[in-house]
Amino acid sequence: MGADPLTIAGLSRALEARETTAEAVVERCLQRIAERNAALNAFITVFGDEARERARAADREMAAGRRRGPLHGVPISLKDLFDVRGTATTAASRVREHHVADADAPSVAALRDAGAIIIGKTNLHEFAFGTTNEDSAFGPARHPHDPNRSPGGSSGGSAASVADGMCFASMGTDTGGSIRIPSAVCGLVGLKPAFGELSTEGVVPLSGTLDHIGPICRSVEDAAILYDVLRGGGVRPTGKPIDLRALRLGVARGYFMALLDPQVAAAFDAACERLREAGARLEEVSIPHVGDVAAIYLHIVLTEAAAYHAKTLERRPEDYTPNVRIRLEMGRYVLGEDYARAMRGRELIRREVDAALEDQDALLLPTLPIPAPKIGAATVRIGAVEEPVRNVMLRCTQAFNLSGHPALSLPCGSTTDGLPVGAQIVGAAGDTPGLLRVAGAVESIVAARAAAHAGYLGPGGSR
């Protein structure tokens, strides 16, 4: 991989070679935020002065030969669910307007220890309970490519901030697809590691048994760098790249391809064809009860979210956005026996995903069935069918929150309007490093470069 100044890996090499400074990079990101945030509404809070100060400190450290690693001096944003000591974790809700975090979340502390510069906190669908980022106390975040469209959600501000060149990566959360969906919609790489691998402490929950944290960035290599830091080091995939001629990918069609925008289907099929031409073996696999996933997921996420919000729903219902409030209220009616049924179904799905992976290195499927939806659209037409946007957007991702398998979205093409399309790769249970190796191989063949959609001018001042 070459020294791409738009990626963390490329920037890191430029910083190491003293071709630029952390201060200059941070300044350029802050300038981009100043120019573009009014249009995109990606950031809720910007830590301008603190970021400048930390960038200067990083430059001093690196000049003195104390380089902490590839994140040293790299500007990163955080979805505003992550605690940063001394600041509000708003969750994009008025419910949290008086909150002040008394400590950094462990994931934030790990990023800081690695030298990352936290440049600000990004907009999201209120309490991460939605896929479009439209319901936010701070107003909707908007797609960098077309401000009339959603950047996806719930980590929509995070994806917009990276795709527009306001920072080099962002930390998101993923309960049903909230890292992978905005990554796909914005032409980025989004990693949901295996369930339970990364601490969710200090991160506002949505659904405790489904929540994951992970990075949104511009390349699989960057995702590996961030994953390694968040895991505490020593797990970054190394060694020989995967030989594509030995790569076995299980293509999950059926349910996942039954409701697909024709242009998304065309981009995904073309990506599959390029992989075949490169020598990968693609074989159709099935997850027999995947048709039950939506009902299973709904009963779990509603119940767990309602339990977390019960007190504030009673005391301050008017402080929620209307749509999020009403969805949270719905969860208060789920019966215990149905939650138990859903948990049983979830275990079945986990086993079926394991079975589908049995003879494969990974599964390959679309990340979401549509390109970025228009802001305000309640439904979307796919062929002859009119479907609720939310249901469609979660369709390909939520199964792997239920199963806990690691999953990653990477760009694999675009529509005729230039809207990015994402492909999702699902790794073996508990093997996020293995997933990253496979994703690196797939990226080398299919990835439409995320940077093509970035407005950021790199350290050298060129695209």
Binding site: R253, G254, H299, I326, D338, R351, A429
Partner: protein, 82 residues
């Protein structure tokens, strides 16, 4: 409680609480609950094995490596959901 009885109770409660906008969502939830309850993999106290695989011990860690031999393959309808 049947789904029908549950829905009537929930709709009445939503009305009482001044949340009529909740009603269509409750109807959608009722459809999802019906689907969940009629799924072939639900537990049955008769022990009828034909209903599908036992999800196993609740202590099984999610994301942990599973023995392929305990998978549900072959027991479920392979055409379902496709």
């Amino acid at each position: 409680m049947t789904v029908k009885a549950w829905l009537e109770m929930a709709m009445h409660d939503a009305e009482r609480r001044g949340l009529p906008e909740l009603k269509p969502l409750l109807e959608a939830l009722a459809r999802a609950t019906s689907a969940l309850r009629t799924a072939e993999w639900n537990a049955d106290a008769t022990g009828d094995a034909a209903l599908g695989p036992d999800p196993g011990s609740p202590s099984t860690p999610l994301g942990a490596s599973a023995n392929p031999l305990d998978s549900a393959r072959g027991k479920a309808d392979p055409g379902r959901g496709r």
